[in-house]
């Protein structure tokens, strides 16, 4: 048992706290709307090696585990960095797990190209609203019972969406089959779980930061001659949100650990972490906005940037209701249709 960052992870954290604080300030985040992608920032991030850090060194990666990647993801989430770090990193790992030939993989990993995974199976030859689909050159998706890789130029624009997410429908024309049947299902389930766990990490970090904006604001803003942060109703709302964020952070950390350690409960924990962390982040964003008063609703303030993106993190894999039902199938067994 060891529930603090390792010295190596702390070193990674130091680097990326500085990187994202400097390179992804709110002006950059705003300027990247509506697409939600900043090519220059992506190039800078790629130069650090972070997008491929969780690939084995033998195929040009950094040989890191998900836990180290999660440290970077946290900082990207905190600053709302407009880069498809999670989607790309997970797609590379999936392609590697599916034995994509090393040359092709290295070509994707070592350039500024972007890979992404579709969280939902393709329908009628199209992967719908793929996260990072607007900017990815390579899409991995389950098509029927096949895991396929589609390489088509990115559309480079996204349908208008509230989360400023670079999502897009992607037709699969001429896709290459990487795996089939049970193997394909197992690989995509693992990749989804990795996406869930890292997105949970990101959402919790977004929630933590938006809550901090709220705490800072209520200390500054005075009404009735006192800081509004001295009102108990305000304090209790922020306290409740912060307890959920702490719980969310621990659950996301446990899910990442379980995946790295190949624990049997890993996929379930990841799905749980995704739901809980996104929910906690939504509540944190809501509390922060409420306690900003009218200014929190103004475009000029950053709260709304978080409020909208967090919703995207929750909905990208499907409605929460459908996510709970999928988890129920894992935790309780499938619906039997029987009676006692």
């Amino acid at each position: 048992m060891q529930l603090a960052l390792t010295p190596d992870e702390r070193a990674v954290q130091d680097v990326f706290v500085a990187f994202f604080t400097n390179e992804s300030p709110p002006e950059i985040v705003r300027a990247a709307e509506p697409l939600g992608f900043d090519a220059e920032l992506w190039a800078k991030l790629a130069a650090t090696g972070a997008p491929s850090m969780a690939l084995p060194e033998s195929v040009g990666g950094g040989g890191a585990d998900l836990a180290a990647l999660a440290v970077v993801v946290e900082e990207a989430g905190r600053t709302l960095a407009p880069v498809p770090l999670i989607e790309h990193a997970i797609a590379l790992r999936l392609a590697h797990a599916a034995d994509l030939d090393a040359t092709t993989l290295a070509a994707i990993a070592s350039s500024n190209r972007i890979a992404a995974i579709a969280l939902r199976p393709a329908v009628g030859g199209t992967a719908g609203l793929v996260p990072a689909g607007a900017v990815a050159d390579v899409i991995l998706v389950l098509d029927g019972t096949d895991l396929v890789l589609a390489e088509v130029p990115a559309p480079a624009h996204a349908p208008a969406n509230t989360a400023a997410a670079p999502l897009a429908d992607r037709p699969l024309g001429g896709a290459k089959v990487l795996a089939t049947g049970a193997k394909a299902a197992r690989l995509i389930a693992r990749a989804r779980a990795e996406w869930f766990a890292l997105t949970a990490t990101e959402a919790a970090a977004m929630g933590r930061q938006v809550l901090q904006l709220g705490v800072d604001y209520v200390m500054e803003r005075t009404q009735f001659g006192v800081p509004v942060g001295s009102f108990q109703a305000v304090q209790h709302g922020l306290a409740d949100a912060s307890v959920r964020i702490e719980g969310a952070t621990l659950l996301a950390q446990r899910a990442v650990w379980a995946l790295d350690a190949d624990r049997p409960e890993a996929n379930e924990l990841a799905a749980m972490a995704h739901l809980f962390c996104c929910d906690a982040a939504q509540q944190a964003a809501a509390a922060s906005m409420q306690f900003h008063g009218g200014y929190g609703y103004a475009e000029e303030y950053d709260v709304q940037l978080y409020y909208r993106r967090v919703k995207g993190r929750m909905l990208l894999p499907g409605s929460p209701g459908s996510q709970y039902q999928a988890l129920a199938d894992d935790l309780l067994g499938p619906v039997s249709g029987g009676a006692s």
Partner: protein
């Protein structure tokens, strides 16, 4: 990070599970007399050295034994007791009071109080709350007046749970009314068979019996004092440290969810469909399970911090707040999905699962009240975790 307990602690978990499987019977779980304690179970655990398991060896009286478990093993024990729904209030208070005595008490108290507590021979009770002071615990009015090398105690405590089963009460008293309230408190261990003490039951909505205790010219020697004269607040802080560590309150929902799943797998709705197949029910069961996993994260974090020698204050408060508030919510969800059968109580022939879910539902509200109300806990989180100013009250 590594959320896995070390192998020796997992081995201990297996031992605890086997012990609980062999020793928890329907009679053990039956707390309908209102006392969340089972002497038989308690003494068997004491005999195994589990009560004194985590007490630092150098503090242990020579004749006692124990001290050969570490804090991670103790966390495993507490987790397993809660998952099994074992009635362990007596254990929690006994270990907490014994730990305080071993840390802050004199040799007389170590021998007279801590030893018997950790050997499972006697229980203790907390005497902090009073009729006029609960959340504002430092406003206690029960008076202790010095008389030579003795003290004379007069006053009343409220909610002295377990006092009717216990040999001792750890009593927060006022010894100086002339100074700010936190500075005029002194703590005593008081033997509950001392002349002048009266114990009256206070029955609650839950399965729990508590007590009002009255102190009328109760005379005890100075050797029963723990901590400095007028230094009771420091003892109180140590108490809270041990209370958070041991009394659990991390997994109240776990046995409730187990019961709910059993119920839903065996019960059909009006259309003949098993409840477990109903999407609304499935979502609620999954939500409850996720909340329990969040509690597990908190519990493991506090266990690890304690094992590192870090004092966890606000983390313990967060755990308590989340676990108790979500438990109350789960109890509503689960009772509601039972419909009118949910109303049936222990003793009614048709009560599902012997009325255990209904008992949870009645028990749940007290968990957000005792041990620091949710409001007091939010105040602590706001001040200590978020750095907000003391609230305008």
């Amino acid at each position: 990070m590594d959320f896995a307990f070390p192998p020796h602690a997992e081995a201990f978990r297996t031992e605890v599970r086997e012990f609980l499987a062999a020793n928890i019977t329907p009679e053990t779980l039956d707390v309908s007399d209102g006392t969340i304690h089972d002497w038989d179970l308690h003494q068997k655990m004491a005999a195994k050295g589990w009560l004194s398991g985590a007490v630092p060896e150098e503090l242990i009286p020579p004749d006692l034994g124990g001290g050969d478990r570490d804090l991670l093993e103790m966390a495993v024990l507490i987790e397993e007791l809660q998952l099994a729904g074992a009635p362990a209030d007596g254990l929690g208070v006994a270990v907490c009071v014994a730990s305080m005595v071993l840390e802050l008490g004199n040799d007389f108290l170590k021998e007279t109080v801590a030893g018997p507590l950790l050997r499972g021979e006697v229980l203790a009770s907390f005497g902090y709350s009073e009729p006029e002071s609960g959340s504002d615990v430092a406003a206690a009015q029960t008076k202790a007046a010095r008389d030579g090398d003795h003290w004379v105690i007069n006053g009343q405590k409220m909610w002295t749970t377990l006092a009717h089963e216990a040999a001792f009460v750890i009593l927060l008293t006022r010894t100086n009314a002339e100074v700010p309230k936190h500075k005029g408190l002194t703590m005593f261990l008081v033997p509950l068979d001392a002349p002048g003490i009266e114990i009256q039951p206070v029955w609650t909505m839950g399965t729990e019996r508590s007590n009002a205790t009255f102190y009328d010219d109760v005379r005890i020697g100075d050797e029963w004092r723990i901590g400095e004269v007028d230094g009771g607040w420091a003892v109180m802080k140590a108490a809270l440290k041990y209370e958070r560590g041991i009394a659990g309150g991390q997994f109240p929902s776990a046995p409730l969810l187990d019961a709910a799943i059993t119920y839903c797998r065996t019960t059909t709705d009006a259309d003949g469909r098993l409840l477990i197949d109903d999407p609304t029910v499935r979502e609620q069961l999954v939500r409850a399970r996720i909340d329990i996993e969040v509690c597990r994260g908190f519990a493991y974090k506090t266990a690890w911090m304690a094992a590192q020698g870090d004092f966890f204050g606000v983390e313990g408060s967060m755990t308590k707040l989340f676990a108790s508030e979500s438990y109350k919510q789960h109890a509503h969800w689960i009772l509601d999905l039972m419909g009118p059968e949910g109303l049936l109580q222990h003793g009614a022939d048709a009560a599902p699962l012997g009325g255990s879910i209904e008992e949870h539902w009645r028990h749940a509200p007290v968990t957000t009240i005792y041990g620091g109300t949710s409001q007091i806990t939010r105040n602590l989180v706001a001040e200590q975790h978020l750095g907000l100013p003391r609230a305008r009250r």
